[in-house]
């Protein structure tokens, strides 16, 4: 199945990724091959599937849910230990002018 550069750029935007035109050309062949590979399932169920409900592997046992208790959260300094923080917040470049 042929995928246009425009379609790939739209997908990349949705996935929050970016590719240069050169990268995209390189990527396209492998991606089309993956789509053809996935087309393997399309031969199995023909026609409109809109009225069929998906089957999950396990019914959720709603009575089995844990109590909704408030617990102490992780310490602020621990959370910020992995990344740039400022005055107890995650710091990024100014977003609002």
């Amino acid at each position: 199945m042929a995928i246009t550069s425009k379609e790939l750029q739209t997908l990349a935007r949705l996935a929050k990724l970016e590719f240069s035109e050169e990268e995209l050309e390189k990527f396209r062949g492998g991606f089309e091959e993956m789509i053809s590979f996935c087309d393997g399932i399309n031969s199995e169920i023909e026609g409109d599937t809109s009225s069929i409900r998906e089957v999950d592997s396990r019914e959720i046992e709603w009575e089995d849910l844990r109590e909704d208790c408030v617990e102490e959260s992780l310490p602020n300094e621990k959370i910020l230990s992995n990344v740039q923080g400022e005055r107890g917040y995650f710091a990024v470049k100014r977003a609002v002018k």
Binding site: A15, F27, F31, I35, N42, E44, D56
Partner: protein, 480 residues
Amino acid sequence: MSGRIMRLSAMLQSGEISSRELTQSYISRIERLNPTVNAVVHTTFDEALKNADYADRLIREGRATALTGIPMLLKDNICTDGLPTTCCSKILQGFKPYYDATVWQKLRAQGAVLLGKANMDEFAMGSASETSVYGAPRNPVDITRVAGGSSGGSAAAVMADMAVYALGSDTGGSIRQPASFCGVTGLKPTYGAVSRYGLIAYGSSLDQIGPLAASAGDCSIVFKAICGKDERDQTSYYEEKAAAFDVKNLTVGVPEEFFSEGVDDEVKEAIEAAVCLIESAGAKVKRVKIPAFKVALPLYYIISCAEASSNLGRYDGIRYGYRAEDYGDIDDMIVKTRSQGFGEEVKRRIMLGTYVLSSGYFDAYYKKACLLRGRIIREFAEVFSGCDVLFTPTAPTTAFPLGEKRADSTKTYYADVCTVPASIAGLPAISVPCALGKGGLPIGLQIIADRGCDGLALSCADFIERQISVQVKVCREASL
């Protein structure tokens, strides 16, 4: 190789050796072998020695279990408080989680000794561990070949005796296939049997943590230590079905589709030999069919990539891990961070997942995949109404040469053809070495059981191990 845990545990508890001494010997072994095998990507030797001292105290106080003082590894996608956990990806470089995964909490409480984190495919996406940002681990049986994936480091380390056992994770075969390639035993438990709290998510409806070890007996000890319900993972619910193992009352199903084109003759012959062996021991053998097998592989890639595209949405460079240096606004920062931080295969799978979930293609791919998943579950259920376990190959080939399939993703995907059906259906499955192929490369037998019958799969694997003594030889250590 058999019963390494019980043997070492007896030595520890009799005082013949201390956990500190045992740990130091494994540290030396990792220091000597890892430059060649590349199975361990983060060593935690200081932590290991602390764990060992705690274990020695538990032993002195008479509070030891079989796993107390035993050195082990965790796959690099299992969170450990204050210790590196990177999923072998640039995007998590330097990340040190602030909590422990439930499996590590349970093992640490028993006095397990953590030597480090095992190499893996980036975000567990691959079948040869070649997408790791740290480079691929090598197969200790033949260092020119892959260790399998995605838990390739865990399997290679166990084979090279750089750890007594290791935990891996299995989404579509990531424990079983590397176990098969490296000649060790690996169990993917029933979906829900082991808590995934603290396992970095890939495909949430498929992911499961399990052990890789030298024998089914060892896997059984580790599995019992980590299984059970955990309120922090709503999918965990385990209730084991009691099933006493008696080979004379056992019905073994052999699904013909697993022996289809693409599976090497030497692999088919090895599995058929194992089937004959269990039949001659008194088991009944039935030839069965799983017709939906033919769609299992594309179905698996649709569902796992769809889930991955959603799960990996959290990597934005704001809260942890890598952040791009030059960027404009926040959106640009997120896009640049992700584009620079993720490797090629991860990006390909995120893109595929985004594609199959996008409005124009949702019905054609994702929805159909979910419907077919139901069909596979039903077909397995029908088969298990007349069989106790299924015998199949674990992988269609033995370990292939490093780099051979790197350029061709879809060819690599075929390495999972025999393992994904059990993952899709949430069934327990174990890979146990059953023969050696050309070049002395190990061949794994996959034993699939019904949901909750992990114990039966383990007993069956133990039986096979006792009947077929496969002497997998590690490459001469001088060349390692």
